[in-house]
Homo-oligomer: 368 residues x 3
């Protein structure tokens, strides 16, 4: 996916930084490493670790932070000095790699219900399904094997990749990206136990799932519909692959849910919360704005705004990291305790107190 | 999904409880909270925490347990007194929200093999696939992008949602619900290592997967076929999203497998077992009837009937919960041990024993 | 799936072992247990535990290791003596159960772009999709609802099961098996935070995902495309169900990734590495050749070649197993420490040192 050619001067105008070097130099690709970049490439430096790599780069243009040592830039290499080069890279790449969207319209090999409502310039690819009463906003892409259930709604400029599934009445906002295999609005896991028979009696899940604008949903992620009212994912939240979100959960705006994490039913997650990979949240708790849940943590109680928690059960960051570190030394700690016990016993003998030590601790009895 | 209107008297006749109030009052919806319910709504109280909320409710009818204080019910509000209001709610909702099933038959845009056998009133939607020799019972629904492989069997009244996959010969019972993206009967993960080359030589997985009656399988859950004989999920078991069940595993009746949990190959799970979210069971173990596996646990050995286990490696509930609680205090425990060591050293000095303390414990050497 | 009938003599010629018994005996099926095998069956013994079961078997042929006691074989039962019976079983089953592949060609109900290039004897089933410029090698099978995106490449003899998804430009090698619901080449989870607004700005994922030859990818497993260059899975690696592999990760040859495990972005995994179920690896680390990651481990730093790690955070095997074992006894350890503290206090009192014990340890203060 080669981006179009552009001059460093044009790029500076787009990204808004201070150009140091030749505004007429032409760049036509991105490099993943400033050290390995060659002529024609744009590289970037975002981390102090790589500041000195600037000295050897062969890139044509390097996006650099303000505190870079400008004298370390080789001759013939231009610098674009920016407050946040990584962010500028993201925005720059978005401009470059935005290919003009082809409007192919509704394929004859797609299924679109006569009662569905389609906006302008919608693409419905072969083998896509748009059910009765469904609504697709302008410029929506529905790729093959994508299922838009009856009465589901999809906002403008949203992309449903191959095999994305929206159950009936699911609502997805504008500018969302729903990756392949994502399932939005399937039944929540709600059953009432019949204590006499042990049977799990299904509670019909008659609520819906609502995904607000600018959300990205990863491949094979599952977001359940609510039992009664709604499961909701806030604007701008990004969700990775294989994430599970239970019925009636509410996730705020700008959250970041990493792969294989899970949120149980009815839990409320605030805005700008990060949930790292493979972490799990029990149901019916509240996570404050800006909180961070470490990878593989098991969160069993409320987490305050801005707090960082880690471990299972999760505890606050500093405390949590300490116990995880000490944990490795548990066997040695136990050996120490046993040695100390012997020394105490010897002391007690010297002082004629030995008989009170005749009961060994239960810990000594425990098999291992 | 509005349920039809019904009178409280008719409802009492259906659910079987004792009606206290006006049998002619009309209800037409469910409320998720007794506090927020309004006129026309049915609410329910299942938990002592909410008993006092009855006093303020504006619901038309509240399903209440037998030990409720009946005098706390506002005037104009009817109560239906039941042994288990939550269970009654489930059963009531099932009646309400059961819309008459439309029989649309086999879409011309579906693929149904001429050798497939279809029962009465089967729906096969556009872009559904039913392979050679497959069998669908009466009133089965096969939604778009659902794949019923060759010789697979589906029992009466079962629903396969969009994109559910049944590999060849997979058997699904009656009244099952298979959600989108669920994959039943894909190859088990069986390989023989070639010690000379390091190659993993595939063991053809020639067994099948069998799902008994009344099972619900969540979105993107995977249940592998057996190597030789069968993987089996017992009657009435409910499986959440993103669950993994390995080849040759046997899960009993009425189990409850929560999201992102996993069962490795050949493990036997008894009846009415609960496996909470993100828990994992190693292969070749047995879990007794009625056992409960806590969330995120890692079960490495057999679990007896009725036992509760927690942690990694999982230990019995009370013991497990205790170590998880103590774990948080590990750093302080270590500090305590270090202080005690100093005090012992001082004691030893006083008694002229100090030289035996010259070797510091290994735990002291370990970096952190 | 009955294999064709074969004589034990023909089988010995195929598998290469030493036949002890009747070369004209006919076998026509495999048995999963030597104890339960009946006449006509091939059984195998791979484990000392089952050596004595040979004495009672009714199988026609048993694959046995070299150190078996040959005199324990019942009359009328033949033995095929092999260096590695399990491996021979795998190879034998591969021969038996290899049914001749039917060439059905490209279904009229499939979608194949006029610009796609197809090798010889390719099968494209109804409702499969092959995009513009995609390439399918000889004898590739593309099952219903499989999506081969634009410019994607699939090597010879590869099978894409129902609902497998290859995003644009994804490359899959020869003799691969991609199970249903697997998603290869979806966008990596890459965003630059805009510190002012909290917005996650998407970094276009313009790299690709490359799967080398002889790889098996389990159901609903997700492998992301790279941000810039490529995510790569090495030759002969086997991946189970519901595994997540992040963008720019590199997995070597012959690895074994078990269900629900995850590898974060840019991590390098060497050759012949085993990652057990539900384990997670953070990004930007290196795992040496032949390393083993235990189930549910959380790996946060590099792992050397051949090392075994366990726990969260993962530590080397022996150390890790020790702390997991001791962990269960934490409550008793704490009780011991408390008792020791009392005994020390008593000793100090006797020696007139009691006043220095007046400050209780912080561990005592901590609630539990």
């Amino acid at each position: 996916m080669a981006p179009p050619r552009i001059t460093t001067g044009e790029l500076a105008a787009l990204l808004g930084g201070e150009l140091v070097g030749d505004p007429a130099a032409v760049v036509d690709r991105f490099a993943s490493s400033v050290a390995e970049a060659g002529p024609g490439a744009i590289a970037f430096i975002n981390n102090r670790k790589y500041y000195k790599a600037l000295r050897q780069t062969k890139a044509t243009l390097v996006l650099v932070p303000r505190d870079i040592d400008r004298s370390s830039c080789p001759k013939g290499v231009s610098m674009l000095v920016l407050e946040d080069p990584y962010l500028a890279l993201a925005r720059g790449m978005q401009m470059w790699f935005r290919s003009p969207r082809a409007v192919t319209g509704v394929s004859e090999r797609a299924f679109v219900s006569p009662t569905a409502k389609l906006g302008k310039d919608v693409n419905v690819f072969p083998f896509a399904f748009v059910g009765d009463g469904a609504e697709l906003g302008d410029r929506v892409d529905v790729h093959p094997f994508s299922y838009v259930g009856p009465l589901a709604q999809v906002g403008a400029d949203t992309i449903l990749y191959a095999g994305a599934v929206l159950y009936a009445k699911t609502r997805v906002g504008a500018r969302c990206i729903v990756h392949s295999g994502a399932v939005l609005g399937s039944d929540g896991f709600g059953f009432a136990p019949d204590k006499k028979t042990g049977e799990h009696v299904k509670i019909p899940q008659v609520g819906i799932a609502v995904i607000e604008d600018d959300v990205e949903v990863g491949a094979s992620t599952t977001i359940d519909r609510a039992a009664f009212d709604e499961t909701r994912i806030g604007r701008g939240t990004k969700i990775d692959n294989l994430v599970q979100i239970g019925h009636n959960a509410r996730v705020g705006r700008g959250c970041f849910l990493v792969a294989q994490s899970g949120i149980a039913g009815t839990t409320r997650v605030g805005d700008f919360v990060t949930i790292a990979a493979q972490a799990g949240l029990v149901g019916h708790i509240q996570i404050g704005n800006g909180a961070t849940i470490a990878a593989q943590s098991g969160v069993t109680e409320d987490v305050g705004p801005g707090k960082q928690v880690v471990g299972t059960p999760a505890v606050e960051g500093k405390q949590g990291l300490r116990y995880l570190r000490v944990q490795r030394h548990l066997p040695e700690l136990r050996s120490t305790v046993r040695r100390l016990e012997k020394r105490i016993l010897e002391l007690e003998r010297r002082l004629g107190l030995a008989n009170q030590t005749s009961t060994p601790g239960p810990e000594r009895d425990a098999g291992e």
